[in-house]
């Protein structure tokens, strides 16, 4: 996918976190998402997780639409990443800074061996309409770094758009259950 400069800060009202459970949620879940969509989305999520675990950063970025955003809120109550503190709130340009840094020969803290393993599951198609899909899922990520391990787990909400190149991410919301805890060291790559 060709790289085009995105808007530096996109305002995405669509970022509202769907209420987990509840009558309406349950009804919508049953109605929306036939098994083909579900399978397609699952494959997409597994592929994205593999890009992270294999450190194929450019391919990871290319899964985002030109105006796509990667967002890890600072707290679960947040409904948008725009204008509020976030752990990540990155468009493709900022993602590209991260990519270039990770690959720089003197990104010193990259010298230690590290790797991650993501497991993505519990995929639920929340909504599907007019070429747009909202999917919820759960992830568990184990990171090995500097001879020790860390665990991060939580939920993803993917706002996906159908394009001629396949599904692309308009917004990925990442809520880690341990997002608000103290961080032993920091996060260098997307979760």
């Amino acid at each position: 996918m060709a790289k085009k400069p995105g808007k530096a800060v996109a305002i995405l009202k669509a970022a509202v976190k769907p209420k987990a459970g509840g009558k309406n949620g349950a009804r919508r879940r049953i109605r929306a998402g036939d098994s083909d969509t579900k399978r397609e989305v699952e494959q997409f999520l597994y592929w994205q997780a593999e890009c992270l675990d294999d450190k194929r950063w450019q391919e990871f970025i290319d899964l985002f639409a030109v105006d796509g955003m990667y967002w890890m809120p600072a707290s679960p109550e947040q409904t948008t990443g725009d204008g509020v503190p976030s752990i990540f709130w990155e468009d493709r340009d900022l993602m590209s800074v991260r990519l270039k840094r990770l690959g720089h020969p003197r990104a010193w803290s990259q010298k230690t061996a590290w790797g991650t393993n993501h497991v993505v599951a519990n995929v639920i198609i929340e909504e599907e309409s007019a070429g747009e899909i909202v999917a919820r899922s759960r992830f568990h990520m184990m990171e090995f770094r500097n001879d020790s391990t860390r665990h991060f787990a939580g939920s993803y909400i993917h706002h996906l758009r159908r394009t001629k190149d396949g599904l692309r991410i308009k917004l990925q919301r990442v809520d880690m259950v341990n997002a608000q805890g103290p961080y032993e060291y920091v996060l260098q790559a997307w979760v």
Binding site: M72, P85, S86, D93, K100, W108, P182, Q188
Partner: protein, 436 residues
């Protein structure tokens, strides 16, 4: 003393070098808790964290669990977070509102927000004993001293010592510079606190804050990555948002860093002058300047916006970036473990884009996904590991040693990369430790 190394503290700090045990010796760390952290003014929080009567935040001073509360007379109190009955913490969470009273979850002793005991259940059980509700031992113990400056609350666990203002000295500019930049002269906390743990001694972080020699080396990768994307914006005839410059400034070549200045004050406080060009001529800044001019008049506005500071370090526990409205509070957890609590603030009365500037820095440089501190923390851990080794006994602060001009208690640096700030910090350290 020095339990582990049998180190004589008086010989551990020389004018231009420091013994590694000062960073790694658990016995010295205990002495630091007693002689420094249990005595100095420690930043507790901002008054706007406890807006309403009954609001509280838990916080650590030295290794003491403390509680900041808003009392019914609107004053901010700092109390030991400990029930006088059987010693349980009164709050195990980080923040909230006490409701009708501070109530212990163990046996329901109840306290007012100034710590006064209000009720003990089944009080007659104490009849004929030497304990009564009126006994001060039944109330929560307050911090020895509490004071605030422009909304920033500090507490000291010792009765004696300089007042907060005397202790801050000229370094109070940290809060003046931040608050003056608000058209209303005040800031308000944004209630998100990022917490990052460093596996290294607390002094390593403080020394790094004013170390103008490291950015071009440690942060070259991030500086260059951001500069490359800025170039792509330019090629597409667009301006990169100012936040990119927060990162690309690190690509400033090492030879340029001598052009900056550091100032050392009493009690180890220091300042590094600014280098990020935070007064651009874009429409957002110009609109902000119009609001500022209306609030202060042209001359005063120029004075305020002319202050050029990158960091103010309030030794031993606070690093303030006034022009970007953020701060990092340093909480030593152990000799090799340090917590930083990172906050940012809104300038009251300033237009939204000015807040977004602070937010951009908070998200990119100070959040747990930081591309900057990732490499600092890696260095800090490596320093602590190396200092724990037998590969050498001394840490060098020789750079421009003997060339620290001092006038009226203010030490200046001959060049930006002088290790004057570290020498100044150790001067305070030896005073606090009583080994000067």
């Amino acid at each position: 003393m020095g339990v582990d190394l049998g180190l004589d503290l008086r010989k551990a700090v020389e004018p231009d070098r420091v013994h590694r045990g000062v960073y790694t010796d658990a016995g010295i760390f205990e002495l630091e808790m007693e002689r420094i952290f249990n005595k100095v003014w420690t930043y507790v929080g901002h008054e706007s964290q406890v807006k309403n009567v009954g609001d509280y935040w838990t916080v650590q001073i030295g290794r003491q669990p403390m509680l900041m509360t808003r009392h019914s007379d609107r004053s901010v109190r700092v109390l030991y977070n400990r029930c006088p009955h059987r010693g349980a913490l009164l709050y195990g969470d980080r923040s909230g509102n006490v409701g009708k009273s501070i109530t212990c979850s163990y046996h329901s002793w109840q306290f007012d927000t100034d710590g006064t005991c209000k009720a003990i259940p089944l009080e007659k059980g104490y009849e004929g004993t030497r304990l009564s509700i009126a006994n001060p031992d039944c109330s929560m113990k307050p911090a020895a001293r509490v004071a605030s400056y422009r909304g920033f609350v500090f507490a000291s666990l010792a009765d004696g010592g300089p007042s907060l203002l005397d202790w801050l000295g000229p370094a109070k500019v940290a809060f003046d510079d931040m608050c003056d930049r608000a058209p209303e002269g005040e800031v308000e906390v944004v209630p998100t606190c990022f917490r990052v743990i460093q596996n290294s001694n607390w002094k390593i972080f403080l020394e790094n804050q004013l170390d103008a020699l490291h950015p071009a080396v440690t942060h070259e990768s991030t500086g260059r990555a951001a500069a490359a994307v800025e170039d792509e914006f330019k090629k597409n005839k667009k301006d990169a948002p100012l936040a990119y410059h927060f990162l690309s400034a690190f690509a400033t070549p090492i030879t340029s860093w001598d052009g900056f200045r550091t100032l050392g004050y009493r009690h180890g406080h220091c300042i590094l002058t600014g280098y990020m060009g935070l007064r651009p001529r874009d429409p957002d800044t110009l609109a902000y300047e119009r609001v500022m001019e209306k609030a202060y008049g042209k001359q005063r506005m120029e004075e305020i916006l002319g202050v050029n500071i990158h960091h103010v370090l309030l030794y031993p526990g606070l690093s303030v970036q006034s022009a970007l409205q953020q701060l990092r509070a340093v909480r030593p957890l152990g000799v090799d473990k340090t917590l930083t609590e990172i906050w940012h603030f809104r300038l009251k009365g300033a237009p939204e884009p000015i807040y977004r500037r602070a937010l951009g820095y908070y998200n990119l440089v100070n959040s747990p996904s930081t591309m900057v501190n990732a490499d600092d923390l890696w260095n800090f851990w490596k320093c602590h590991q190396g200092l724990s080794s037998n590969g050498g006994d001394w840490v060098s602060f020789h750079r421009n040693a003997g060339q620290d001009p001092e006038e009226n208690g203010v030490v200046t640096s001959v060049i930006g990369t002088s290790e004057q700030p570290m020498r100044n910090q150790f001067r305070a350290w030896t005073e606090y430790m009583g080994t000067n």
